[in-house]
Amino acid sequence: MELVERSPDQTISQYVDPSTARGFIIMMPDCKGQDGVPLFHDDAVGVIKTLQAGGLPVVGPSVSQPTRYLSEYSAAPQIVSSIVLGVAGNFTYDIIKVIVTLAKLRIQNALHGAGSDDANVQLEIDEIDIRPDGAVSVRGFSYIGPVGGIETSLGALVRGHEEVVRDSQRCN
C-alpha cells in the first residue's frame, strides 16, 4: 500500500468548472488516445450513471461523442483497476465513502461482478480548492494497494489535514 503526494498532471479544471462542481467527484479519463480523444479503461463502463442513480455526487467529463473505452486483454494483472478522480473542494469523510464505493464498483466491473477487498487498485486523485481570496490550490495524491485499504488511508489523510489546520489556527 502506498499513499503519496504527487504533482498533478491532469487536473479537474480541464474537464469541469470547479466552482460549480464543488462537493462532486469527477471521474476523469484514464488516458488519451493518439488522436487526443479521452479514454477510460473498460471497467469504467456504466459506473457514473449507476452511482448517480444511487444519489452519489459523481460526474464525468462532458464529451459530445460516445465514450471510448480501452481494453487490454491479458489475464491476472497486478493492478485490477486504475482510477483517476478529481475532487472539487476538500476531502471529507463523505467524499471518501463515495470514492470507496466508486473504486469497488470498478473492481466489480473488472472482475465481472466478483468484488474483492484484496484486489489491487491504483487510484490517483486531484483535489482542487478555491480559497476565499480566489486563489486555486491543487494537490495530487496516489494510492496503490488493496481496494479495502482506501478508506483507512484517505481517512488518515483527512485527519492529518485537520490536525495541521488546528495546529496552524493555534499558532495564529
Partner: protein, 297 residues
Amino acid sequence: MIRRGATEFSGLVVRTGVPLPPPAGPDRQILLRKDGLAAMMHAQRQFGSALLAIGINGPSVLNTAPAAYAQDSPPKLFRPPNTQPLKQRWKWARQRLVEVTENQLIDHAELLHAKNQLDLALTSAVAAYNLLEDEPEGFHVHRLAHAIGEVRSGLFHCPVAVKDGVAVQNCPLALLHFRMGFSIGFTATRWCSICHEDLDYCVHLLGKTYSLVAQRIENSCNICGQRSCGHVVGDSYDVHPTGIIRQVDLHEVSLVHRPRDPLARVQEFRQHVDAAQTATCDCWQPCTGFWDLGGDR
C-alpha cells in the same frame, strides 16, 4: 518440430461472439474450469470413439509427462525416453492396420472415422489444456493430449508438411507446448446488451436484474451471447446489463504467458526451408517439455 528461429506465425488473437472470461478473480477460474472440463470430456469421448473403431484398447505410452510435473508423479513414469522401441511398436501397428484393412477386418469408413475422431480429440484436448493450465486437471489433460497425439501420429502420421519451400507446423500437440498466447489492446464503444443504447446513458444499471425475452440476434443468443445455448426463444430470463463492443479500433497485439482469452493462441508456425528438406513432427514421442520466446521452461 519448428522451434526457435521460426520466421512467421499466425493465430487467433481473440474470439468474437462469445463472452470472454474476466482478466482475474474467482469468476475467471469458474468459467475456465467449466469450459475446460467440458473440452476434456469431449476429448475423452472422441478418443474413445476412435480407439473403438480401430480396435485399440488404449495408448501404449505412459511416460509422457514433462519434467515440470515430475514432483507430482510416480518416479517410474520418468525414465529417460527411449524412442526406438516405441518407433518399432508403431511401425508394427501400422503394418497390422494395413493388413486388417486389406483383409476387410476394418471398414475404410471406420478407419476414416477413427482418424477424424483423433483429430477432433486432439483439438479438444489442446483446448482443454489451455483452459485448465492452472488447474490440477491440467496434468491429466496434458497426458491425454500426448496419448491422443501418439496414436494419431503413430497410426496415420502427423500431417506436417513442406509446401512451396515453406515448412508449416500446425500440429495442435506441438503448438500446445508453446506456452504463449495473444493479448490485444483496443478501444471501442459500449452498448447495452438489453436495450442496445449507449450503456453510459441508458436506463439499465450495473448489478441490477432485468427480465429479458430470449431471441437470436445476429446468430447469437441475447441472454448469454453464445451461438449455441439452452435458452429458449420467447421465454423470459433474469439478466444483468453488459456492454456490447462496437466501433473497435485495434491498437496492438502482444504475446503473453496468460492471455485473457486462453484459446487465443498461435495456430501455425511457418519457416522457409530448402525445397528438398522434409518436415517432421515429433508429436508421437514422449514429451520434452514446454517452451516460450525465452526458450525451454
